[in-house]
Amino acid sequence: MGNYFSPERETASLEQIRAWQTEGLIKAVNKVWNNVPYYRRKMEMAGVTPDDIKGLNDLKKLPFLTKDDLREAYPYGLMAEPLEKCVRIQSTSGTTGRRVVAFYTQNDVDLWEECCARALVAAGATKDDVVHVAYGYGLFTGGAGLHGGSHRLGSMTLPMSSGNTDRQIQFMTDLGSTILCCTPSYAAYLAESIHERGLIDKIRLKAGIFGAEAWTEEMRHDIEQALHIKAYDIYGLTEISGPGVAFECQAQAGMHINEDYFIVEVIDPKTGEVLPEGAKGELVFTSFSKEAFPLLRYRTKDICILSREKCSCGRTFVRMSKPLGRSDDMLIIKGVNVFPSQIETVLLNNGYAANYQIIVDRQKHSDSIEVLVEMTPEMFSDEMSEIKAREKKLVGDLKSMLGIYAVVRLVEPKSIVRSEGKAVRVIDKRNLYKG
């Protein structure tokens, strides 16, 4: 199985990979020290200077970056290049309260698109394919990433964006889409809609690249069966570049991390201590090749296991498991990042006590979110229409805060399940991390 987009890099020796990483790390640390006062201060507080970083073994001396740092430094605080050199901005999905923006120079965009092109080739795409991109376009990195990857590969790009299922299916049948890129839940929905319309025989898809949310092996099996395709996972974060930080190959046994551009570590989320390869822990990335927005030791909060076992595809890049959980309370619902604290903010902004519970479910591969809110004297009225109006306002505020529609259910005070006196904030019925 020898199809690679960048063969000399994707099959490089470990020694070569380490050499790239060492050189890149030293350069990035010096650049950040000189150009990013925010991170320099963090280094100074940790008592580290660029002279202390001579190789990969010194990486652990550097302080971590978290999403909180990105928010604190918003918008320009972590930029390592002047704005004039930047050509693109992307942002994390759906959230107004906790926005994170990332900047790209042309080289950064090229690097990102190359990563996505690698993912496409690993899924079997060639320049003769029709790549149907049904990820959302816009600030979200899903659409732009795979779109760019497809361009780079030279295949035909169908920039569909998300939604309008009838049009998706029409283009798919009329223009013969062969590679589908979208969230796994949308792929499942499309599959169902195609069968409902009796059009499966007109579909020419051979593979799909599905990411931006957690999915199980069971879901993979269902999508593969329904669409007669091979379904591949892809991983990425806007902070690090976007989708394509890691991608699955035809072995479908973990995602190869583009180690020539990113250094990955696994840490104990509680102590921050680096764990040996093969241990389960939180992924930490150092995007040493990025020009505008290089992040040193960025904590992803994704719990994974790395494997350097030889892969049948011939790639030498380390493989990461599907995320096995989160080390924070972030939920990914319909591909959108949701923090329970955002719901708390909406309630407090409306003058209500923040007694709530989030119930997330997935029916027919589609996510739903229900927010139980305990009634308070401020929300109550003798008039039904007034309570309804307040409920409606909450739904509207949640929609603009989260970017997705949440059902609100008003419940009696103290009716939300408490565990040792603390309300249970999240009930996730999806069991995403078991498959």
Partner: protein
């Protein structure tokens, strides 16, 4: 000339009204009249009791969200068309009836109606002009007695 009604938030699920009644029973509170209005997932229970303030305190202590709403209690004559004339008169004066419910008094052998109207002052005027008897909070005890 108004009556104090207690409005309580209840969830629309099996057993929630029963649980509420149990609380009243536990505290020896008699419900003189009640009416439940419900939306999809929740309802507003409206009740008339003897001692409004003690009941409010008790309910709050028991963890209910409730509030006092002023309503009108009127005596209904036991003859055909009595209610029609009354509602028509209110309508003619542009007074809107938000909700109403009825109860009986065995002691006084009469029927009563609770009315919630958008313009209480105007409503009182109209009702008095019709000669309708409006029951005050103080009279409730006489109606119910024990």
């Amino acid at each position: 000339m108004t009556t104090k009604q207690i409005s309580v938030f209840l969830e629309n699920k099996p057993g929630s009204l029963a649980a509420f009644c149990k609380v009243l029973e536990k505290h020896n509170i008699d419900m003189r009249a009640m009416c439940l209005a419900d939306a999809m997932d929740f309802g507003i229970l409206r009740i008339i009791v003897d001692d409004t303030f003690t009941t409010m305190t008790t309910l709050k202590d028991e963890g209910y969200v409730c509030q006092i709403t002023k309503v009108l209690t009127i005596e209904i004559e036991d003859k055909p068309g009595a209610l029609v004339g009354l509602l028509t008169a209110l309508g003619d004066e542009n007074v809107n009836l938000e909700y109403s419910y009825a109860f009986l008094s065995r002691k006084a052998d009469k029927a009563y109606m609770i009315l919630k109207l958008d313009n209480m002052a105007k409503a009182k005027e109209v009702l008095l002009k019709l000669g309708t008897r409006i029951v005050c909070q103080d009279e409730m005890e006489q109606i119910f007695g024990d």
